[in-house]
Amino acid sequence: MISTGAKKQIDAWIAKYPKDRQSSAVMQALKIVQAENGNRLNADTIQAVADYLNMPGIAAQEVATFYENYNHKKVGKYVIRFCHNISCMLNGADDLIAHLENKLGVKTDEVTSDGLISVKKVECLGACVGAPMFQINDDYFENLTIDKIDKIVDNLK
């Protein structure tokens, strides 16, 4: 379930923590395993991570469901994580999300039919200063407007 390569990467993280605290590496481990499993996790992969780190499955599940960067459903090549927490909401995130959904013809948690883009609503990404904002894969885009969103999204290939 976890490839040798992934195990190597996880081991590198485990090594950063005190002995017997390998479960501290759970976030990285989930990320690594997610990356090699079609960018998503399921009960089996989560259990595999838990077993590898010698922690209860439910404890890994807690982490995997708490953070928004773990995907439990099929996602597109680009995952737009749109913040809808308080600062972004006050700055109009809800309307922008509606616009984005219309534009792509998908609802939150769905993937465009070409498999390119999926949208998720997420909690504060710590970039309130640039609210409203979203994250596409590893990059942040701030001070969003309808125009800006159109341009960014049109450039995704």
């Binding site: 009960a43 209860p56 499955g57 439910i58 599940q61 807690e62 469901t65 708490f66």
Partner: protein
């Protein structure tokens, strides 16, 4: 910790530095509302219900996580405290469905109680409430997760007490949900305690669902009867029926927990297999008759088959391990009075010249303070869950635990070394331990150790025992039929003596200790059970015995009981075809919670209980039946008005104390495959076997003959075969030359039902 003085609501109280405020208020009887705090769990301080006003602190403080200090002044009732409590209450109720009228927790709900006290009539919240979907988490616990207030008591219970984190909080914010992983369901042998710790109606008893309101029931304190602990509990009854079991506090025995076995076994009481009326066999035909006719028939039968011929030496009395002390005593007294010395309770021991005599000299609460334990021959977690829990606590404080077993079992704590060895090597390993210890102590070695080799396993155990300041050696059930049983027990005693260790004998169960105390073993030159079964007997009185579960050699037993001129009086609480086959009279007896009696636990704590409910239909408590039988036999000295008078008489008797012969005799030459055969944890007695919900759990379903590949080849078996009627499971977790059988005949009972 030094004592300090502080003030609570104007009253000066003393406390210990660093103690949490809520402990002080609880001790002083000041009520502070709480949800996440539980006295036996870690402090989460997440619900904020316990906010109180501490002078000098700008904001209200949570009592459960505020350490007290000298001179602290606390107000639990002033405006500031009340306002905070009220606000928190309102928040907690935002998403709560307020469905008390259809909630099983109604009437015994902490949320309900606190809401009555601190809640307002109207909420500011008028938006939609969230709904949480439920999944089936197993046969024992019903969930209604929309009611959950996320106190995480159940999560912490799993992590801290059960030793397996089963519940967790998934999702976040509004999507936070308490649930187990993978829908595998809850599997812990202590899981039912989550029902008790859940302050709301999110986790309730599944078998009890929609049955009754808590205020409709009587709660009668009683004692659990299925293990060596005698957990304290409440039997909750309604109109003469046991409806539910809840745990009772007793820090010396079960703290505040009970095992699932003790919590859910009551269901067996109402199984349709209960025997409800006395019956007699006349010319091969069974007839239901009145008590008078049945008892007359029984006494007449005894007279004509046995007593008239002065053949009391061909009469035998056998009892099950669940009999109460009073029952044991009365049956023994009757038999002694008629001149019969053939009594025994050790039904499942193959060789009664080779038995375990081992003291239990460590208190249950002291178990959690040990620094080293050696467990020999026990699946302790499932066989004695509450004792295992104490050991788990010890490991959390750093104790090391070594195991010497024939198979790997699931432990809920890390082991220092799990040594898996064939049954016929256990004695020599222990001898190795002793040799190593004696060599270390520069003691002269006795002859029997001369040729013993000290291997690494033995040496490691010896070093541990020598270096530990409070250790215990525990012997479990798997040893009882070991060919070296008595040697193993004696070795354990000597090892313990030479290392200042304690010993704990878990090789027996239920009320066997009481049976030993009243001396329900062959008297004078009386026959033991195996001799009785091999002799021509004219009569038996059998107390709650079910041969296909209680003996290892069913055929011999049936053969001994069946002959026409053997008159068999069976006192039982459940129907059983085999019993009907050989008995002449069947007398229906009260089962657990239906009779008063006395139980002894492994610490020799004597615990008496009253009957919580009347036995159903015409069923009577066995002690009464025995008393009347004695009267009909015109025996003197049976004038008891109730069972406490029996108990009073017992306490004036000298107790039988077993003695160690200290004799060690083992040959270390046994060959062949050792079979360890035992009832699985939820089928050790008749009530349990009829508890339908327990039987649905994973533990209840245990029914396997485990062996490794090599043993399977020797026996010519493969995975789909049966061995002694039990499905074969080939696994490399079993030692060489060993078959470990955990069988559950109850599966058959369920199938028939």
């Amino acid at each position: 910790m030094a004592d300090i003085e502080m003030e609570i609501d104007g009253k000066v109280v003393s406390a210990k530095v660093g103690e949490m405020l809520i402990k002080v208020t609880d001790r002083e009887g000041v009520s502070v509302p709480r949800f996440c705090y539980h006295k036996k769990l870690s402090v989460a301080a997440s619900c904020r219900m316990c906010l109180v006003d501490v002078e000098g602190a700008p904001k209200p403080q949570p009592a459960c996580s505020t350490p007290v200090a000298q001179g602290m002044k606390v107000h639990t009732q002033n405006d500031k405290a009340k306002a905070s409590q009220k606000a928190v209450m309102e928040f907690l109720l935002i998403n709560h469905p307020l469905d008390c009228p259809i909630c099983d927790q109604g009437g015994e709900c902490e949320l309900q109680d606190v809401a009555v006290e601190y809640g307002s009539d109207v909420s500011h919240f008028s938006e939609g409430k969230r709904i949480v979907s439920d999944s089936d988490i197993g046969a024992l616990i019903q969930t209604d997760m929309t009611r959950c207030i996320h106190c995480t008591r159940c999560v912490r219970f799993g992590l801290e007490i059960a030793g397996m984190m089963e519940m967790g909080g998934t999702g976040r914010g509004e999507h936070l949900k308490i649930e187990p992983f993978l829908r595998e369901g809850i599997q812990s042998e202590l899981s039912g305690n989550m029902i008790d710790v859940c302050p709301v109606g999110a986790l309730t008893s599944k078998p009890f669902r929609y049955e009754l309101r808590s205020w409709q029931m009587n709660s009668i304190p009683s004692i659990a009867r299925h293990d060596l602990v005698g957990s304290n509990l409440f039997v909750q009854t309604y109109k003469g029926k046991v409806k539910r079991i809840a745990s009772a506090d007793n820090d010396w025995i079960n703290e505040t927990w009970i095992s699932d076995r003790d919590r859910f076994s009551y269901e067996g009481l109402t199984h349709k297999n209960r025997l409800l009326k006395p019956q007699i066999k006349v010319q091969g035909q069974w007839k239901q008759v009145s008590w008078k006719v049945a008892l007359d028939y029984a006494v007449k039968g005894l007279n004509s088959h046995v007593l008239k011929h002065k053949k009391a030496n061909q009469l035998g009395g056998l009892v099950s391990s669940t009999a109460t002390m009073e029952e044991l005593y009365l049956l023994k007294k009757i038999l002694t009075e008629v001149g019969c010395d053939n009594i025994d309770h050790r039904l499942n021991i193959k060789n009664l010249d080779n038995i375990i005599t081992l003291d239990s000299n460590i208190k249950l609460d002291a178990l959690e303070k040990i620094d080293y334990a050696l467990i020999v021959g026990a699946n302790i977690r499932l066989e004695q869950p509450m004792i295992n829990h104490r050991l788990r606590k010890a490991t959390k404080k750093g104790a090391d635990i070594d195991v010497l077993n024939v198979m790997e079992f699931d432990f809920n704590y890390p082991l220092n070394a799990e040594n898996i060895t064939a049954p016929n090597k256990i004695a020599s390993t222990l001898a190795g331990v002793l040799k190593s210890i004696m060599t270390n102590n520069v003691q002269e070695l006795p002859n029997y150790l001369a040729t013993i080799e000290v291997d690494e396993v033995a040496n490691n155990i010896a070093v541990k025992l020598l270096n530990s300041s409070s250790s215990v050696i525990i012997l479990g059930e798997h040893i009882i039929n070991n060919e070296d049983a008595s040697a193993i027990a004696n070795l354990a005693t000597i090892i313990a003596q030479s290392t200042n260790s304690k010993t704990l004998n878990l090789s027996i169960t239920a009320n066997t200790i009481a049976a030993n105390l009243v001396g329900f073993v062959p008297q004078n030159s009386g026959m033991d059970v195996n001799t009785m079964l091999a002799s021509e007997m004219r009569g038996f009185i059998l107390l709650d015995i079910y041969p296909q579960h209680d003996f290892h050699h069913l055929e011999t037993v049936v053969k001994a009981f069946t002959p026409d001129d053997t008159f068999v009086i069976s006192l039982n609480s459940f129907k059983d075809d085999i019993i009907t086959g050989y008995s002449d009279v069947i007398l229906p007896i009260a089962s657990v919670y239906e009779t008063s009696g006395t139980q002894f636990n492994v610490n020799n704590d004597m615990q008496s209980y009253t009957a919580a409910v009347k036995a159903p239909d015409e069923v009577k408590p066995a002690w009464k039946i025995l008393k009347v039988m004695a009267d009909l036999l015109e025996l003197p000295g049976f004038h008891y008005a109730d069972s406490t008078q029996v108990l009073a008489e017992i306490s004036h008797q000298p107790h039988t104390k077993h003695t160690h012969d200290g004799h060690i005799n083992f040959t270390n030459k046994h060959n062949g495959i050792g079979v360890i055969w035992q009832n699985s944890p939820y089928s050790i007695d008749a009530v349990l076997r009829h508890s339908s919900t327990l039987q649905k759990t994973k533990i209840g379903q245990m029914n396997s003959a485990c062996m490794n590949q090599a043993s399977a080849e020797i026996l010519g078996l493969s995975n789909n075969d049966k061995y002694l009627g039990v499905p074969v499971v080939i696994t490399d977790t079993v030692a060489d030359d060993c078959v470990f059988i955990n069988t559950n005949h109850a599966i058959n009972i369920q199938e028939q039902a």
